[in-house]
Point group: C2
Chain length 369, copies 2
């Protein structure tokens, strides 16, 4: 590729001029120029290697050679729409169906998670003849008009809540109304949903659907992804069977993180991030909720931003999430290793220790310009 030759400052200037500012950059105060990625690593224009704790979309790792080869083999032969018969689409649907409950046996392949959620909404409305939707607070279901309407995370900053949207509390056992000390928080949160539904029905509203999470995206056009995703599935199986401890890394993350030095500034608290469910939360999807104060559990928003910025300077790519943007969101590719977990935790430790000292000596935690 002839690209990747511009100095980073020029790329940034062009981007600011040509691309809408609503297309956000990671680390906006000092964005990273990434020119290459492999496995769990990304590389900037200077060749610096970053550990990627963000890109779970690169499922089996960036640029997995088997996946790249499958895409290339398919692209050379056929890349068209799904209005012709082809084996890939049915083979892949069959393979998917074997991993799902029997009732989930008819498939639609779409361009993005957003398109999938929009279709789910249409199907629910068409089937029930109803219009209304129950969603969880702070949920995000995609960037389309129809999904912004059902995403409190989005609509609170835009057009507000439509009369056909009903918001149930986030089942957050750390900061929500029912916490770890509750005898049965699951039932208590389920009852909240029941209450929201009853209250809507009393007003004569009719519920079409309950959106609890984004549907998985299986993006792109049909023919290549069929091969592509089969290859992803293959690679995942191979990764699992070839490495000595396939699930060592998530295990490591889960084991190491609670052992962090817990600075007096806040306590690291291990829980799935606000928007995830157990299907997303298993294994490598880990959230760490940073707080300023044990009693009030006040989100440590600025500290989380500072920490993520410092980690980036230390070649670890990480992002935050949650209503308070104070949850460190770990979702690396699956090839993330036990060593990677050790490195990341060591860096976190060092930065947290330094932050504690800064706070003790009344220095301001300032983001690098």
């Amino acid at each position: 590729m002839a690209a990747d030759q511009r100095p980073k400052a020029d790329t940034l200037a062009l981007r600011q001029r040509l691309i809408s500012s609503s297309c956000r950059l990671f680390f906006p105060e000092d964005p990273v120029k990434i020119v290459r990625a492999q496995g769990q690593y990304m590389y900037d224009e200077q060749g610096a290697e970053y550990i990627d704790c963000i890109s779970n979309v690169a499922h089996v790792g960036h640029c997995h050679p088997l996946v790249v080869r499958a895409a290339h083999e398919q692209n050379q032969v056929l890349n068209t729409n799904s209005r012709y018969l082809h084996d890939n689409i049915v083979d892949y649907a069959q393979r998917l169906s074997e991993t799902l409950p029997e009732q989930l046996c008819v498939f639609y392949f779409l361009n993005s998670g957003s398109e999938a959620n929009d279709l789910a909404l249409r199907l629910a409305r068409h089937y029930t003849g109803h219009q209304d939707v129950v969603v969880l607070d702070h949920a995000y279901h995609g960037h389309l008009s129809s999904l912004i309407d059902i995403s409190p995370y989005k609509f609170r900053n835009l057009d507000g809540q439509k009369e056909w949207v009903h918001v149930a509390p986030l089942p957050d056992t750390y900061r929500g109304p029912y916490r770890e000390d509750h005898p049965n928080p699951a039932m208590a949160y389920a009852n909240e949903v029941k209450r929201v539904v009853s209250s809507a029905q009393e007003k004569g509203r009719k519920i079409a659907a309950f959106f609890a999470e984004s549907l998985p995206s299986v993006g792109g056009q049909i023919i290549p992804p069929a091969g592509y995703f089969s290859q992803v599935a293959d690679s995942r199986e191979k990764t699992s069977s070839l490495t000595s401890s396939p699930w060592a890394s998530p295990l490591a993350m889960a084991t190491l993180l609670p052992a962090w030095p817990q600075p007096s500034l806040w306590r690291g608290h291990l829980k799935p991030p606000a928007l995830s469910t157990s299907t997303r939360g298993v294994g490598l999807f880990i959230g760490v909720d940073l707080i300023k104060d044990e009693a009030t559990r006040t989100p440590a928003t600025e500290e989380a931003a500072y920490l993520v910025s410092r980690l980036k300077e230390n070649y670890v790519l990480l992002s935050t999430d949650g209503p308070g943007r104070n949850i460190l969101k770990f979702k690396p590719p699956m090839c993330f290793s036990l060593d990677n977990a050790r490195q990341v935790v060591a860096k976190l430790d060092a930065i947290l220790t330094d932050m504690e000292e800064k706070v003790r000596s009344c220095e301001t935690l300032r983001l690098q310009p």
Copy 2:
């Protein structure tokens, strides 16, 4: 690829079981199994070669080697989101900006034409603070909830017209209210839009946008398409400069089609298809409006379906469009040649002649099972 080994009947049976029936097949009465494509040709599982008059999405031709190579080179190096800096996205935006009016200077890259139109709708509503939309009758703007609402082609068969949607007549100079014999049909249709807007405003409605056509799709994730589409642009330029008569083929189509034998059954009428505008209609995007009767211009719907089915048996892939589904819609890849145009016209001629004879001898025009 190990695929493409199933007998066609098995593929069809699996498809009917696993893929939603709302995902339509071309030629549903006897679908084609396509396993390979190159340039303007597609190949079925028996190796039969079809001339493709449908896939204008395969812009410079199916599996163009330069495009396939560009995608592969990029996929090996980096395929990630646009929240990091990268040269491809800004280089491509800059290149696009050079082909557009000065005011069109800020870019969003999206997953599909549908996502682009949804965003356009959001931008218009956010900017104007208004909600309503004026659209052309029979228009189709995409398959998302928000776009079905503004697509008469879709909403007439689904939830009907929303109060914030205003439909202007299709500027059809063949079958619409203002025809070829009108002194100024363009002004007359523009006045219709004005009338629709005034009528809406009198009811207190506030117009956010006028949707006249789908925005072009520049699908996929950002990094690879940037390289990919640059390569498409390159290939297009190269195609133009390398072939002796780059625009011979559209010219040929436009020249040959009016010279068709015009059977007494109907007259071939050359016009852009209902949904296209001049930006799409130039060159290879040609519609042929089939009618049963010169005076009433009744759409020859069944005949168009029969003709398309017979063409498929003769290894020409073509589809219909328009409110009456009677418009033969030619939109082949750009590499479609003068010889291809001659072959297609010759086959059309033979089938039309045969159809005339069948009608004369009172045979039914029956689709092959």
